[in-house]
């Protein structure tokens, strides 16, 4: 009934007005004489109106669509992709390879960042998506990799090709360090401990001035060279991009492979039912530690790429916000979907970078996007699981 829709919208507007009244209605003004209030009550009226109108539009839309099967565009995309997934994957690779020749340096720089987050997403996917271990401090491994690479390069002049895997190794050790204490912990307890771990690493990085440079971080990180020759910035950006791309493709192949191997299936079984795993002879300790170690190693490698992309790192790049963003990428993409992670990374990393100018609103939009996408597609953009082995033969 139209009348119900109107009443509902008016109520929504009223609630919005009440919510807006303190924070929007009055502004705290700090002046020489102290704090005072500056009223902005007209803004409250506008906010209430906007909410009421939006709610009304939503109600109308819902009524119009009621009873009609309107397949959501992404559901269609998902279905079509399922069949065309390999082709879609190759297409994306082709675009990625051609990118530096088509776009300017800034775009290539952003694309490099997106690729780094793709690697982070796949790494976290092993821990959260496959093994079912809710890790909220993943950025710690990212940080460890970045700092390890920076320090190794600065103090021992290690080349990029040596430093990068070493950074991954150091991060893997940290992964084991986190894995041990959380072995016995149930899901959400594990989450808070991993969160604490992430924060601890950040705090240590910020305070241990002698080694990590404190809040100012490490700068003048040696850039990679091409057979010992330094490269001009334009070329270097493209070089780094291709190296990251190559490694991302290798990681993709390895992860896809792992999922079809005993260890990958065992991780998923662990996520499904740990007790059943034990009853079949699977050792959860080994599975959890290996998930953490491999996931951390991937983050460490991504960290080394981050270090050479920026040339400079500081603790503030590795806060909980980072861990949350990476987790969002995994969940938004649809856990278990490699391409999903790529799409989500493009969405959550590429777009905000593009709109860097709108600083404050950018973060607001980021958070809002997280909420909206979850409300719309709780299972992620591309979800659904295919078996890793079929009776009729290998997939």
């Amino acid at each position: 009934m139209l009348r119900d829709a109107v009443i509902d919208s008016l109520l929504a507007g009223l609630v919005a007005a009440l919510l807006a009244l303190p924070m929007i209605g009055f502004r705290l003004v700090d002046s020489a004489t102290g704090l005072s209030l500056a009223p902005r009550l007209d803004w409250v009226a506008w906010a209430a109106l906007a909410v009421a109108a939006g709610r009304f539009a939503l109600n109308l839309a819902r009524r119009a669509l009621a009873g009609r099967e309107v397949p959501a565009p992404v559901a269609l995309l998902s279905a079509r992709l399922a069949g065309a997934r390999p082709a879609f994957g190759w297409a994306m690779i082709a675009v990625a390879v051609a990118l530096p020749f088509l776009a300017n340096r800034q775009v290539v720089g952003i694309a490099t960042l997106v690729l780094i987050y793709v690697m982070l997403g796949w790494g976290l996917n092993i821990v959260v998506g496959l093994a079912g271990l809710l890790c909220l401090g993943y950025a710690a491994f990212y940080a460890v990799g970045a700092y390890a690479y920076a320090l190794l390069a600065q103090h021992w002049q290690l080349s990029f090709w040596v430093g990068m895997p070493l950074a991954g190794l150091v991060a893997a050790v940290f992964g084991l360090a986190l894995g041990f204490p959380v072995l016995r912990l149930r899901g959400d307890y594990l989450a808070i401990v991993t969160l604490g771990f992430g924060e601890t690493v950040r705090i240590v990085l910020r305070n241990w001035q002698e080694v990590t440079g404190g809040p100012r971080g490490l700068s003048d990180i040696p850039r990679p060279t091409l057979f010992g020759l330094a490269m001009p910035p334009e070329q270097r950006v493209i070089f780094i991009y291709f190296v990251v791309l190559a490694l991302v493709l290798v990681v993709n192949a390895v992860v896809l492979r792992l999922r079809r191997l005993p260890i990958g299936r065992a991780w998923e079984a662990l996520r499904e039912d740990e007790t059943a795993c034990r009853s079949l002879g699977l050792d959860p300790t080994l599975l959890k530690l290996s998930a953490f170690a491999i996931g951390a190693a991937l983050a460490g490698i991504a960290g080394s790429f981050f270090a050479i992309r920026q040339g400079f790192i500081s603790p503030e790049s590795f806060s909980f916000m980072e861990s949350a963003a990476i987790l969002a990428i995994v969940v938004l993409g649809g856990m278990g979907s490699q391409i999903g992670v790529v799409l989500a990374a493009l969405l959550l990393v590429g777009l905000p970078e593009w709109f860097r100018e709108l600083q404050q609103y950018r973060m607001l939009a980021f958070g809002g996007a997280m909420v909206l996408i979850m409300l719309w597609r709780p299972s992620g953009l591309l979800s659904g699981r295919d078996p890793t082995i079929l009776l009729g033969g290998r997939k």
């Binding site: 390895v254 492979r257 191997l261 039912d273 009853s279 078996p387």
Partner: protein, 283 residues
């Protein structure tokens, strides 16, 4: 193998705070035999299972498994080691499958230990070595064998959670068998099955006993199953063993009747219960 019983439970007691769930329990289970553990609800049957399979650690007692490589003391081994090394497999009272994995994947995971060893912890698989490919093919063959035996082959690639209840129970049994056990522990395998399915289950368990030569330990309430196929029955009440013997012996044991029906010994069993307990025609 020493020639003694496959499983020997000696003076096992399990306490939870103030409650003594299993009280000084001793019995044997032979290979190639079906041993049933029965008793009223709360008698300690599943607790016993959990002690045998390592999910609980009894405070007192010894549980010995006669393994070809030598006897193993199960009471101090962890649950996954008992499954992997001692060859003791089990199913659960409330089915525990891997719901979002396919039927076939459930069976492949069951062979994990063997596959990991064959693939050098998956490394051989990563490198694409034939060693791993062969091991995986072998695992699929084993899985196929049990799929066929339990009538699940058409559903091999379906999600486990999508199967009807009876098939989920069968899948759980198939999965346990894929581990290649010496002792198979089944916790209420007939729960929720209709009479036809129970009869099929009976045939299946007898087949397994005869063809695989393994020992079967069974918790069950369905007397048509228990009386129909058990070689030996152990009766528990309040954690203690109150009777042990052949189905015939148990059927007439006064202590058993008392435990199930209460104190009044003079009463005859009501006809329905008598039929269940096998005074009438067994299934």
């Amino acid at each position: 193998m020493t020639g003694g019983p496959l499983l020997r439970v000696e003076h096992v007691s399990m306490r939870f705070g103030g409650l003594l769930a299993v009280n000084d329990l001793s019995f044997d289970a032979e290979a190639g035999r079906i041993t049933a553990v029965i008793g009223p609800n709360g008698a300690g049957k599943t607790t016993l299972f959990n002690c045998i399979t390592g999910f609980y650690k009894p405070q007192v007692g010894r549980i010995t498994l006669d393994h070809p490589k030598g006897p193993l003391l199960l009471e101090r081994m962890s649950d996954h080691r008992i499954a992997a090394e001692a060859g003791v497999a089990r199913t659960f009272q409330n089915i525990r499958l891997f719901p979002r994995m396919s039927v076939l994947e459930n069976l492949i995971v069951a062979q994990h230990t063997r596959l990991m060893r064959a693939s050098w912890f998956s490394l051989a698989g990563l490198l694409g070595l034939a060693r791993y490919r062969d091991a995986e093919a072998q695992a699929v063959a084993t899985a196929r064998r049990w799929l066929d035996r339990l009538g699940l082959t058409p559903h091999a690639d379906e999600e486990a959670a999508a199967l009807p209840y009876g098939m989920q129970r069968r899948l759980e049994i198939a999965r346990a068998l894929c581990t290649g056990p010496l002792l198979l522990c089944l916790d209420e395998p007939a729960a929720g099955l209709n009479p036809r399915e129970s009869a099929e289950l009976n045939r299946l368990l007898i087949d397994i006993r005869d063809q695989e030569g393994i020992g079967l330990l069974l918790i069950e309430h369905d007397m048509s199953v228990v009386m129909g196929i058990s070689d030996r029955i152990v009766v528990l009440d309040y954690g203690k063993k109150i009777a042990e013997g052949t189905p015939d012996h148990i059927r007439h044991d006064p202590a058993v009747i008392r435990a199930y029906l209460g104190e009044s010994e003079d009463e005859d069993l009501p006809p329905e219960v008598a039929a269940d307990v096998g005074e009438g025609d067994p299934c």
